[in-house]
């Protein structure tokens, strides 16, 4: 179409000067700094030492939340489409078991598959990731094809995957893992995996068609469909990716613990959702960024680490964590309300 003829040169048109706004993560980042400073202060008052100037503590802190972070990157994408994924914690447990069972060393006397020991590291890792991918794919198909709410579909997967991980070894842990497998869990490798995943999907959401479609579906699924987006296929893709990341998290969990147990990853899905929401992802869909989720994840880590540092009882930790999640959602609702008033 050569629509140049549409231009009436005599008209002054007010358009499009790129305006750079402050990224929404700035606020949440300031919250993170604030929390850290409060701990720093309380640390000097009550414990007599610095909270921040302790590299070991910070390393442990970020190691602890890396697994949550990997899941949260997937969950963020699901929430942006307007869905939810409750199954990721259970998928972590299931994939930890499955991958560990293919990572056992021949020196271990009670290997699950005695003939399949000492396999190269990529086999157990691949098994874990693929199992997660499959679980997510099933979630996506259920949601896209049967139109049941994501809450229910992933709730089903949550219970089923947990069941599978218990059934797999009748509740026995899987140990004696090879060193080349547990390598992913040593040192700061979990953090590297987390950040790598975060960067990849930050780029995917911001700069690829996959990302644009994800936001469009969350903003208005009808409009997205009429605009030619194959909504069902895209939904399956997003849930499959979330499942795959949960699988990867399962691998890292097993490698880090050097063993796998059926109870691994319990409640991780809630921490991941919390990280996303604290990081500014809207449960109404259509809004959210990986950078926010990364900061949200670190906030969760700092909170936990800080409580431990101040020797606060673990029970209180959960109570406060619950309140923080609610506060984050309240903040989200408030933001939406403010927008609706315009």
């Amino acid at each position: 179409m050569s629509s140049e003829s549409l231009v009436k040169p005599d008209l002054k048109v007010k358009t499009a000067h790129r305006r750079r706004r402050m990224p929404p993560e700035v606020n949440i980042f300031l919250v993170l700094i604030g929390i850290a400073l409060v701990y720093e202060l309380l640390g000097w008052i009550f414990v007599g030492q610095s909270f921040l100037l302790n590299q070991q503590r910070l390393t442990i802190m970020i190691l602890q939340v890396s697994v949550i972070g990997i899941i949260a990157v997937g969950v963020t994408q699901v929430i942006i489409t307007g869905g939810i994924d409750l199954s990721s914690g259970s998928v972590v447990g299931m994939t930890a078991m499955l991958s560990a069972s293919f990572a056992q060393s021949s020196t271990w006397p009670r290997a699950l598959y005695p003939s399949l020991t000492d396999l190269p590291f990529f086999i157990p890792i691949g098994v874990g990731i693929l199992a997660g991918l499959l679980a997510g794919y099933i979630n996506g198909q259920l949601i896209a094809k049967t139109k049941i709410p994501p809450f229910i579909a992933t709730l089903g997967m949550m219970v089923t995957a947990r069941g599978i991980s218990k059934w797999y070894t009748k509740g026995q842990p899987v140990s004696g893992l090879t060193e080349q497998f547990t390598f992913v869990g040593t040192s700061i490798w979990p953090v590297v995996v987390f950040l790598l995943v975060a960067v990849i999907f930050h780029v995917a959401l911001r700069y690829t068609r996959y990302g644009k479609f994800t936001y469009a579906i969350g903003a208005n699924v009808q409009a997205a469909r009429v605009s030619g987006i194959d909504v069902e296929r895209h939904i399956v893709k997003v849930y499959a990716i979330a499942g795959m990341l949960a699988g990867l998290a399962g691998v890292v969990t097993a490698a880090r613990a050097q063993t796998a147990q059926a109870g691994m990853g319990v409640m991780y899905e809630l921490d991941a959702i919390a990280a996303a929401v604290i990081g500014g992802t809207s449960l109404a869909g259509g809004a959210g960024r990986i950078t926010g989720t990364v900061i949200g994840t670190i906030i969760l880590g700092v909170m936990t680490s800080g409580f431990t540092f101040l020797r606060v009882d673990a029970y209180y930790q959960e109570i406060v964590k619950g309140m923080i999640i609610v506060a984050a959602v309240v903040a989200d609702v408030y933001r939406q309300k403010k927008r609706a008033q315009r």
Partner: protein, 513 residues
């Protein structure tokens, strides 16, 4: 000093208020939103027993003023008088209890509750056990409906009602509050001609009962038909109030846009090309059947019919939203199967849907994200990565061509006026360079200026050889823009009219067969 709403309601109940000449008066109203002055020193007066129309382009401030009068917004400056007494409205409920009821453009009924429950919500009649007396509620509703000459079963769930009937329920609800002032925000935008005339009957009878009615509209003919007076707003400023008997159409347009609009419908005769789209025996279950027509390159085929005649369903089926149960669609003489919008777009079709908010805009996203979404299907992408700079440049270009008024491409589309939102959505489709353009109510609820621009654009598209199918409920638009008119009634095509032979009467005859 302003009287509090509760006091005012009490005074009103006692009947002590003198019959002031003006039911409602607003003076020096100013309202700012972040970044915009929505109203600047605006005044407004409503006479007892009159219909007062508010005119102005989108974003002129009409709706904001009415929301202030209905207690939804609080003014930054200025005062509001109800029957000569200063009042302060803190909530829509305050306004309602003071006798000011507003019927919103987006209807606010609870879909899963019955008509009666919706009307009497919060005021349900109770039986002696303190439980809701459904029989009494139903009886009261029927009484109310009789008075208004409305024929709806009070026990129907609202979700089963047509848009027109929902509107009637809203009006009945407002009347049930014994309101003195009724504010209607574009009540006819979703109604057919017949429904409109019924609505006008009701409005007239309410007016004769002494109620003051504020009527926001974009439609000029409605103004002459129903309004006693009208006020014009432009860019948040009050321009003037006139009696509708003393003015002509052109006077009003001049007041509204501050410039002359020479021609309402810039339709140009275009030499017609080959048949691009040919539809034979298209059927969708019991919704519509045996629809056959052809559209040539450069032709604008108008589709007329009452709401519910299946016009929009045909459009949705053509575009693959709801695939046909039988019949064939051919493009360039070749039969094609279109079972989803993706396929339709691949055949270079484009579809501007009827409901901007529900199926058009990605409201929480920005102008760029809204505009690029369809074209990203097959352009501006390699290896999955979007060419950000190129697509932004194309969108910026399109915004300029369509004269979209937006501070930037990064502005959220929900902050744009209806007309500008519509232009963004049209831009979304023009970027895909379509050969077949389906427009469903392209100018619904948008102001005169934007309307004319959209008409000019559609003409331009036709000139470039695009086959256009345009569904519209507005007779002047259908008559003014179409080369040929297809009329539908209850899921069937009842006839075709050429541009020369088409008149309002002929179209209506076919539409109500």
């Amino acid at each position: 000093m302003a009287v509090s709403p509760a006091t005012m309601a009490a005074i009103r109940k006692s009947g002590a208020i003198p019959n002031a000449e003006f039911l409602l008066m607003a003076e020096g109203i100013r309202k700012e939103f972040p970044g915009v002055v929505a109203l600047d020193d605006v005044s407004f007066r409503l006479k007892r027993g009159s219909v007062h129309a508010l005119m102005g382009e989108n974003g002129a401030g009409k709706s904001t003023l009415m929301k202030i009068l209905a207690g939804i917004y609080k003014p930054d400056q200025g005062r509001v008088q109800l029957k000569g007494v200063d009042i302060r409205l803190d909530s829509p409920l305050d306004a309602l209890e003071n006798g000011i009821a507003m019927i919103h453009q987006e209807l606010n009924l609870m879909a899963y509750m019955t008509v009666a429950e919706n009307i009497w919500i919060r005021r349900e009649p109770l039986n002696r056990f303190g439980l809701i007396d459904h029989g009494e509620m139903s009886r009261r509703t029927e009484e109310l409906f009789q008075r208004l000459n409305i024929a709806i079963d009070p026990e129907t769930p609202v979700k089963e009602l047509s848009v027109a009937n929902r509107q009637m329920v809203e009006i009945a609800k407002a009347v049930s509050y014994e309101s003195d002032v009724l504010i209607m925000d574009e009540p006819t935008s979703a109604l057919t001609e017949r429904e409109v005339s019924h609505l006008f009957q009701i409005i007239r009878s309410l007016r004769d009962q002494g109620i003051g009615i504020v009527y926001i509209t974009h439609k000029m003919n409605e103004l002459f038909e129903i309004a006693d007076e009208f006020s014009v707003f432009r860019d948040g400023k009050y321009i003037g109030t006139r009696s509708s008997k003393d003015v002509t159409r052109d006077d009003i347009i001049r007041m509204m846009v501050g410039r002359e609009i020479t021609q309402m419908f810039p339709k140009e005769d275009v030499p017609l090309g080959e048949i691009v789209l040919s539809v034979k025996g298209l059927t969708l279950g019991s919704i519509f059947r045996d629809v056959s027509f052809e559209v040539r390159a450069g032709e604008i085929l108008g589709v007329a019919g009452l709401v519910g005649s299946g016009r929009s369903n045909v459009a949705e089926t053509l575009f693959g939203v709801t695939p046909a149960t039988s019949g064939t669609i051919s493009i360039d003489g070749k039969e094609v199967v279109i079972d989803n919008p993706t396929t339709a777009i691949r055949h270079r079709m484009a579809f501007l849907t009827e409901d901007r908010k529900d199926t058009g805009c990605l409201l929480i996203l920005d102008v760029l994200e809204n505009m690029q979404i369809a074209v990203l299907q097959d352009k501006f992408v390699s290896n999955g990565f979007v060419h950000e700079t190129d697509v932004a440049a194309a969108c910026e270009d399109m915004c300029r061509k369509l004269r979209v008024k937006t501070p930037s491409l990064q502005e959220k589309i929900e902050n744009l006026s209806g007309g500008n939102q519509q232009k963004v959505l049209i831009g979304r489709w023009l970027l895909t360079n379509p050969r077949i353009l389906i427009l469903d109510e392209p100018t619904r609820g948008i102001d005169v200026g934007a309307k004319a621009e959209i008409h000019r654009l559609v003409t331009e598209m036709a000139k470039q050889g695009v086959a256009v199918i345009m569904i519209s409920s507005e007779m002047p638009e259908i008559l003014g823009m179409s080369d040929r008119i297809m009329v539908m009634h209850e899921g069937r095509v009842t006839g075709f009219l050429t541009r020369e032979e088409a008149t309002q009467v002929k179209v209506m005859e076919l539409a109500s067969h």
